[in-house]
């Protein structure tokens, strides 16, 4: 008899990752280690498999156009970039450092005056050296977005070595 039960197709659909579940547990504290996220007051509100949710609360000093009172595009860039990185880590099986390689942002419309923005980032593909992310920023409804972003993040070289040298190593979890 095999030691572990065979995986059912449902297991692949659920794709439960011990890492993302661990991250989910301290999502609210995660950005405390990121000084610039703290400076802007960014928050992570939820983490799911390969997905990160968060928000940038409105503050007068973060306004990008005094004529309209709209939060600065730069704050939205920082939120989308940061959530993108978290979404990548939430798609992996071991903690790995990631770095943004590129980020493209389309602004569909100005954000609502005097309001913060929410955002969701989804890491839709992980390759050997890089991971691909789509993200969207909105006030209330992701289907009525302020901005779309797509980005590519580099994975730590150690991640690549583990994948090639010891595929089983990915399952063990824990930091080296």
């Amino acid at each position: 008899m095999p030691e572990t039960p065979p995986e059912s197709p449902a297991d692949h659909c659920e794709a439960p990752s011990p890492l993302f579940e661990r991250l989910k547990g301290f999502a609210a504290q995660m950005l405390q280690a990121v000084p610039h996220a703290q400076a802007l007051g960014l928050e992570i509100t939820d983490i799911q498999f390969a997905k990160a949710f968060g928000r940038a609360p409105y503050r007068e000093e973060l306004v990008g156009d005094p004529e309209t009172g709209v939060i600065a595009g730069g704050v939205i860039i920082t939120l989308l970039d940061n959530l993108g990185g978290v979404a990548v880590v939430a798609a992996l099986e071991e903690p790995t450092s990631v770095a943004t390689l590129d980020l493209r942002i389309d602004y569909m419309r100005p954000a609502a005056a005097g309001r913060g923005v929410c955002a969701m980032a989804h890491c839709y593909h992980v390759a050997r050296s890089v991971a691909f992310v789509r993200a969207v920023a909105y006030e209330d409804n992701p289907d009525d977005p302020v901005a779309h972003a797509s980005g590519v993040f580099m994975l730590d070289a150690k991640h690549d070595r583990r994948r090639r040298g010891d595929p089983g190593g990915l399952k063990k979890g824990g930091r080296e």
Partner: protein, 150 residues
């Protein structure tokens, strides 16, 4: 007293001074003739990865966007309305060290409504950029109503 828009250099500085977020970041313009360099003075609050340490990629992108806006104010004049970003693509070339960042923008083309701008950001050496941006901006002169108003 002073009528129409101030001279272009002051226009760029005024555009930056009017943006609360630019003041929050401490961004300041430096003009040499008609060449505009923006400076993002280093502060610990700009760090994104304390382990390296490295600047937050978001703030480097935001700084380059501000550089594009200030350069448009200098080159094209903005008639009291800040240009609005339509889209931009940011390439990260090197990790940002904990020191000041500089950026310079080149207005590739200004049309009647749209401007195309390219920006590079660097730290210790101009020839070793840490990031580059290319983007489109909507010019909002009074005679050009923005799309969402029409």
């Amino acid at each position: 007293m002073s009528g129409p828009p101030s001279s272009p250099p002051q226009n760029a500085a005024d555009a930056l001074a009017a943006i609360p977020y630019a003041r929050f970041l401490g961004v300041r313009p430096e003009l040499r003739g008609d060449e505009l360099t923006l400076v993002l003075p280093y502060r610990d609050a700009l760090i994104g990865n304390p382990m390296l340490p490295a600047l937050h990629g978001g703030v480097v992108g935001a700084f380059m966007e501000l550089t594009a806006v200030a350069q448009l104010a200098l080159t094209a004049g903005v008639g009291g309305h800040l240009p609005k970003t339509i889209d931009m693509s940011i390439d990260y070339l090197r990790s940002g060290r904990p020191s000041d960042v500089f950026a310079r923008a080149r207005v590739v083309k200004v049309g009647r409504r749209i401007a195309n701008v390219a920006v590079e950001a660097w730290q210790h050496a101009r020839a070793e950029p840490i990031a580059a941006l290319r983007g489109h901006f909507l010019m909002r002169a009074a005679e050009n109503p923005t799309p969402e108003e029409s």
